[in-house]
Amino acid sequence: MKTKKKRWYDYLWIWSMLYFALGFFNILFAWLGMIDFLLPLAIALIGGNKWFCNHLCGRGQLFSLLGGRLGCSRGKPTPRWMSMKWFRYGFLVFFLAMFGTMVFQTYLVFAGVNSLKEAIKLFWTIRVPWDWTYTVGMAPDWIAQFSFGFYSLMLTSLLLGLIVMVFFKPRTWCAFCPMGTMTQGICKLKNKEHT
């Protein structure tokens, strides 16, 4: 059996790690995460496929590497309910609601109702000071507020993915990843005659 040739996109796990490292030094880099939000949607909407999940997802690759080759996963079967439709779509709705709340918080700062909070929120509840990553005046307050909010979302989902990776299979996160669910839903709608 021949070994599969490695391509440039097989190393995107480096990008995933770099993203979180950059956000540790300057929170404005959090905006780069929008690529991971918009690109899968664009590929699903235009191409009608999950090429992003299948080839470009650095996070999935990172879980494969840590949980697989580096042995950080127990490799136990993923609980069945985690890959059931009700949970996947339920988690997607919850995730989108949290994203909407974050955008609304950004709007409140933009409108001058709220002031900028230089902190991130882990698991949507735990406030963690993150003020060394931003100097007031570097950018409009709402730009910074979005960065803190978006980085919180990205870091929380990474931590969730790491937790399920340790307990279950390396890529358990993929079973209920909101982006994966959303793009699969789009593909199913686009290719309705085949599903």
Binding site: M1, K4, A44, G48, N49, K50, W51, C53, N54, H55, G60, S64, G68, G75, P77, T78, R80, M82, S83, M84, K85, R88, F168, K169, P170, R171, T172, W173, C174, A175, F176, C177, G180, T181, T183, Q184, I186, C187, K188, K190, N191, H194, T195
Partner: protein, 70 residues
């Protein structure tokens, strides 16, 4: 000569993440239009690598049936 075992996919549970595609040493698995994974039964040797990596548990390795040989 076809192997005695073959991978079977429960398409309604598949997340189409592509982990199985990367793992398959025979390139027998593909993601069908972003919807679910499908196996080319004549290529599959039933090694079970895809089932081991699959995060949703939608793959089972079964005895090959007659229709798989067609």
């Amino acid at each position: 000569m076809l192997s005695k075992k073959v991978a079977r996919f429960e398409q309604s549970v598949c997340a189409a993440c592509g982990a199985c595609v990367k793992e398959c040493p025979r390139s027998a698995v593909a993601i069908f239009k972003g919807c679910y994974a499908a196996v080319a039964a004549e290529q599959c040797v039933g090694c079970g690598k895809c089932a081991k990596i699959c995060p949703t548990g939608c793959i089972v390795i079964e005895e090959r049936r007659n229709e798989d040989e067609n």
